[in-house]
């Protein structure tokens, strides 16, 4: 278990190797990245087994008083800020935590990254920057793995920013396309705004605690050394960072545009890295969020709910397959945040994992569709199951799972979230959460039926199924999307279900609320049936509905005008201000304050020069005038 730090190191080492040696290696060195992440995945199992075998007595391990779970902690020195040992200086460490949250995340990240990288062999084949793609991919995975292992805020922030820059590089991978270039910049800057808040939060905690260790921060919170006000402010600042990365309202705008990157990248970003970082962060520092009765958690819940509802409505009207999936991701991230806000710690992480597998599958499926048809507009598709049967089957499996159809994994995890919301929050929340659940099943039904079912269009007849290197990873993800939910159950033996493995303070068994379960089942199945009737059988017409809410549709189709509003602020406020300062610097500071004195001296010199004419008569004139003036002066003096 003490070797867990090696998991990211493999991939970190692979990245520069591919950049440097890529030209001479076969396959541009892509196998290095795959081997590295595969090694990480293998080591994950080793760590997992070691962790299950460890107890409170194991060296470096103890049952944390702050989270209630077994936590193993390993660290080594990094650098000293300030003279070692002197008052007010601080020693920074490379340190890792191995606890259930980390273990779960390690599994998700290594597995999804491995699947995506194998899939990319087929998908990216022939790209002129194939090696570069794998190098950044390896770095991306390494950064995310470091993020989930980090034991202190500084290392966490380091990994956090590396994730950000890798996403910039991957979203802008095809930077010759203006849209990709803009999308990459947008993703980086929008998340960076959140990161500023997060950094301020980290430094605020440092100011209060005098350390960057998370354990010290938890201790300060529980002992009351950090007061309620500071704790809440710090938690909300950290949440800003989480909102940026996890694309929560109002920072969600970057995620749909991030579709400009290669599709496997979207799968990675949406399922295992980047966007789940925000949810992970809140879970990681849950002792800070939940302190003082969780004032900060209410904000998390509200933001999560707004995000979930807003995004699911947009997903329902999008016509681009990848964008539907993007809004679906935003919506599900919102649900996870809502769950965290409702003290549903286990449910949130459970859903994070289940959603991760299903969403990776869906994106890889969308990539497969694009690979086969060069098209993403669902209005131009239909009946693709006839030409791409495997893709259709697996995509449908992912859609049904995420839509919450019973016994598939998404059903169980979503149900846990609804339960937490029902138990801990105002009834308004559960009603809106159920509405979101219904909408999310609805847009999944729409995407699935419109794309794969119905009649095959003529222009789609040339479409072909994808190669095995692409279908294989999808199939493995499909298995998990189907059965992963069963990890929630109380299994006989040492593993007692996810609730007794991954929990906050109190281990919980599997619980199932019958009325809620049946209600959500009805909603999900109903949504799919409705979708079938609308999009395939044409039995139910949307015209009446559309006419009634007519005014609202353009608002939703334009994504509630967030992009336009932000663009307006950037153009009319930020750039105008920057230009104003630029001109101020040139005109006021430079021309007036700097050149001004110089010019005055210059002009004075010109003025002074006038009297030096070089003509004898003008000097004689001056002497005469001067003599007269002096005479008059003396005369007046003698008179008075």
């Amino acid at each position: 278990m003490e070797w867990a730090w090696l998991i990211p190191v493999f991939s970190f080492a692979a990245a520069p190797l591919i950049v440097v040696l890529g030209r001479v290696l076969p396959g541009s060195g892509s196998f290095l990245a795959i081997l590295a992440i595969a090694a990480g995945f293998a080591l994950f199992w080793w760590v997992f087994a070691g962790f299950l075998g460890a107890g409170a007595g194991t060296e470096n391990c103890l049952v944390s008083a702050h989270t209630g779970t077994l936590t193993c902690h390993y660290q080594m020195a990094w650098f000293h800020a300030g003279l070692a040992g002197a008052a007010g200086s601080v020693a920074l460490t490379w340190g890792i935590i191995v606890d259930p949250l980390t273990v779960a995340m390690l599994g998700l990240v290594t597995f999804v990254a491995l699947m995506v990288q194998i899939y990319s062999l087929g998908y990216m084949r022939g790209d002129s920057r194939f090696g570069w793609y794998y190098a950044v991919h390896a770095l991306f995975a390494a950064a995310m793995l470091t993020l989930v292992l980090a034991d202190n805020f500084l290392l966490l922030y380091v990994a956090w920013e590396l994730v950000g820059i890798c996403s910039y590089l991957l979203i802008g991978f095809w930077h010759e396309r203006p849209a990709a270039k803009e999308a990459a910049k947008k993703a980086f800057i929008v998340t960076r705004i959140g990161d500023v808040g997060m950094l301020i939060g980290i430094l605020l905690i440092w100011r209060e605690v005098g350390s960057f260790s998370m354990f010290d921060a938890f201790e300060a919170v529980s002992s009351g050394a950090m007061t309620e006000g500071v704790t809440t402010v710090a938690a909300l600042l950290l949440f800003l960072g989480a909102m940026g990365k996890s694309a929560q309202f109002p920072f969600h705008v970057w995620l749909p545009d991030a579709m400009e990157g290669p599709t496997p990248v979207s799968a990675l970003i949406h399922a295992a890295t980047m966007v789940v970082a925000g949810v992970f962060l809140v879970a990681r520092v849950y002792p800070i969020f939940s302190a003082y009765d969780g004032d900060a958690l209410l904000v998390v819940a509200v933001i999560g709910l707004i995000t979930a509802l807003m995004a699911s409505t947009i997903a329902l009207v999008s016509v681009d397959l990848k964008r539907i999936l993007a809004y679906s991701t935003i919506s599900h991230l919102g649900l996870m945040m809502l769950s965290l806000g409702a003290f549903g710690y286990t449910a949130a992480i459970f859903h994070l994992l289940a959603h991760g597998f299903a969403k990776a599958l869906l994106f890889l499926g969308a990539g497969s569709v694009m690979h086969g048809t060069d098209e993403l507009d669902i209005r131009k598709m239909g009946g693709l199951r006839k030409v791409m049967p495997m893709t259709a089957f697996l995509f449908s499996l992912g859609a049904l799972s995420l839509g919450g159809i019973p016994i598939l994994s998404g059903f169980w995890s979503k149900d846990e979230i609804l339960l937490a919301v029902n138990d801990h929050l105002n009834p308004a929340f559960i009603i809106l959460a159920l509405l979101t659940a219904f909408l999310s099943a609805m847009y999944m039904a729409r995407a699935m039926f419109v794309t794969f079912f119905g009649n095959l269009r003529q222009e789609m007849e040339h479409a072909h199924e994808s190669p095995a290197s692409m279908i294989g990873p999808m199939a493995l993800l499909g298995v998990l999307a189907a059965v992963f939910g069963f990890v929630g159950f109380n299994w006989p033996g040492s593993y007692q279900g996810i609730g007794s493995f991954l929990f906050f303070h109190e281990a919980e068994g599997f619980h199932f609320n019958w009325w809620l379960g049946i209600l959500s089942m009805i909603l999900a199945v109903g949504a799919f049936v409705l979708g079938y009737l609308i999009y395939i059988k044409d039995r139910v017409s949307l015209e009446g509905f559309r006419a009634r809410i007519g005014g609202l549709i353009p608002v939703v189709e334009n994504k509630y005008y967030f992009d336009e509003a932000y663009q307006w602020v950037v153009d009319r406020v930020v750039l105008v201000f920057a230009n104003f300062i630029g001109l101020f610097d040139r005109i006021v500071i430079n021309d007036l304050a700097v050149n001004g004195p110089a010019n005055s001296v210059h002009r004075l010199g010109i003025a002074m020069r006038l009297h030096v004419t070089g003509h004898v008569y003008s000097y004689a004139m001056g002497m005469v005038l001067g003599t007269i003036a002096l005479s008059i002066f003396w005369w007046f003096r003698s008179v008075s």
Partner: protein
């Protein structure tokens, strides 16, 4: 080794100075020969600076490599005493690196190459001297020696900027730079004389920084006296550090200077100013420094934000980098003003980090300009496909400038923030926001210049030359090294910052 250690500092000043004088007698038309000669001299300087850096005993701390040559005896008491602490040792290393890099990439100087290298080496000697002396008179002497060649280097070898919106002649930039820096040094000189007189009143007339530091520690200089002397140093040295509102010489100067001079100028010369505030201001008039720090940190914060916002509106590659230097020097000023051991340490690390990073940026812009003859970011586009290595290095320098973890700038900025957060919370928050603005203008620059479809106009471009690649690659490795493992640098910084009064 002991004997060599004693003369190491004298050598590092003497070698470039002697090299400059020797170069004067070389034939004027042998361009390559004079270049090779300058490389040898700069290489020796670099080796020496590395030796001093590695051999500095951070366990013992204090001033090492001590050596003194008598010049004027008491009652004037001026001696060429040399010694370095960890801060000076690090900055000497910085100068060694950038001087060598600057000389290496100057292979294409065709106009009066001999005179160019004479002045460049003299400048280098002045910088080494300023960092190595322990006597106020010689500090001033070397400080001026570093500043004077700049005027000629820009005025003669510089380039004018002819833009759609405005025009800047290189002579204008050179004159402005020179007048500003001279005005600053006048203030510094008044301050030095005032300190000398003040010490004389207490019965110790001396220019020795060591003695003066001890006098200050013993409370021999009154607080009132210190409080009116410190602003002389703060503004005088601050001008060279690009302190707002005395910064306007700096972007103009950067832009007009030839590549090697821009590198030395932004990479090292601006650090002289910040170094002066630490070494002279904080040590000799510590109580005055303490009273003025709120002002300095406010100005530093203005630097950070003002520089960043100004950079956003620029369209010339070099102006963007010039204003970003103004912004980044703001972190140095802020760090110094925290009087916090982490903050001041961060300021020193930022000097080093910014020196390497900005030198690299100027090197790359120089490489682009040599090939395209323009620096207008609205004309340059898609350079990445033609100049892959240049673009890659530029991106890394830009990321360091944004404070991306894993690169040197992050550790330095992080330490400055850490120090500032526990001393001046509101200003520190503003500075963190300023750091985010950096991302906006750097990404804008990268996107416009390097990314996108390549333009037909730039089909013929070639990538950086092997020398440029080697120097740039070395700078990139240094930035990554410091970003991943800053401890070797911080060991020296920490022990020396700890010895500063008031920290």
């Amino acid at each position: 080794m002991e004997n060599f250690d004693q003369i190491a500092l004298a050598l590092i000043i003497f070698i470039p100075l002697a090299g400059a004088i020797a170069a004067m007698f070389m034939p004027a038309d042998r361009q390559k020969d004079v270049w090779y000669f300058a490389i040898v001299v700069a290489g020796l300087c670099f080796a020496l600076s590395l030796y001093i850096f590695l051999r500095y005993d951070y366990g013992a701390g204090g001033f090492q490599f001590q050596d003194s040559y008598k010049w004027l005896p008491a009652p004037v008491d001026i001696n060429l005493s040399l010694a370095v602490d960890g801060i000076s040792a690090l900055l000497i290393l910085l100068n060694g690196i950038i001087l060598l890099g600057g000389v290496l990439i100057s292979q294409n100087i065709v106009y009066r190459p001999r005179d160019f290298f004479v002045l460049l080496l003299a400048l280098g000697a002045g910088v080494f001297g300023t960092f190595a002396v322990r006597d106020l008179f010689f500090l001033f002497f070397f400080y001026e020696l570093a500043v004077l060649p700049m005027y000629l280097l820009i005025g003669v070898w510089g380039s004018s900027t002819d833009f759609r919106t405005f025009f800047r002649a290189k002579e204008y930039a050179a004159t402005k730079l020179f007048l500003f820096l001279v005005a600053g040094s006048v203030l510094v000189w008044i301050g030095i004389l005032a300190v000398y007189m003040g010490a004389a009143e207490s019965g110790f007339p001396t220019f020795s920084m060591e003695t003066l530091g001890r006098l200050a520690e013993a409370g021999q200089l009154s607080e009132e006296f210190q409080t009116w002397v410190f602003p002389l140093f703060m503004v005088g040295f601050g001008v060279l550090a690009g302190m707002w509102p005395f910064h306007t010489w700096s972007p103009d100067g950067h832009v007009s200077a030839p590549t090697a001079v821009s590198m030395l100028h932004a990479g090292v010369l601006m650090k002289l100013g910040a170094y002066g505030i630490i070494r002279v201001g904080m040590v000799i008039v510590p109580e005055g420094a303490e009273n003025w720090m709120p002002v300095l940190i406010t100005l530093g914060t203005v630097n950070v934000l003002y520089g960043a916002v100004s950079a956003m509106s620029q369209t010339d590659l070099k102006y963007i980098i010039g204003y970003s230097s103004v912004s980044h020097m703001g972190y140095v000023l802020m760090g110094i003003a925290t009087l916090d051991r982490i903050g001041v340490g961060g300021a020193v690390l930022q000097m080093f980090s910014h020196g390497i990073m900005t030198a690299l940026m100027f090197l790359l812009v120089g490489a682009i300009y040599d090939r395209t003859h323009t620096r207008d970011i609205s004309v340059l586009k898609g350079l990445f496909s033609r100049m892959g290595v240049t673009g890659f290095f530029f991106a890394i320098a830009g990321l360091a400038s944004m404070g991306l973890p894993g690169l040197s700038g992050f550790i330095a900025e992080f330490m400055v923030f850490t120090g500032a957060f526990r001393t001046y919370l509101p200003l520190a928050v503003l500075a963190v926001i300023g750091a985010a603005l950096t991302a906006v203008y750097i990404l804008r620059l990268l996107a416009l210049t390097f990314l996108g479809e390549s333009d037909a106009r730039w089909e013929h471009l070639t990538d950086a030359s092997p020398v440029e690649k080697a120097v740039g690659g070395a700078f990139v490795l240094i930035m990554i090294f410091v970003g991943v493992w800053p401890e070797p640098l911080l060991r020296l910084i920490n022990v020396s910052v700890d010895a500063l009064p008031g920290v």
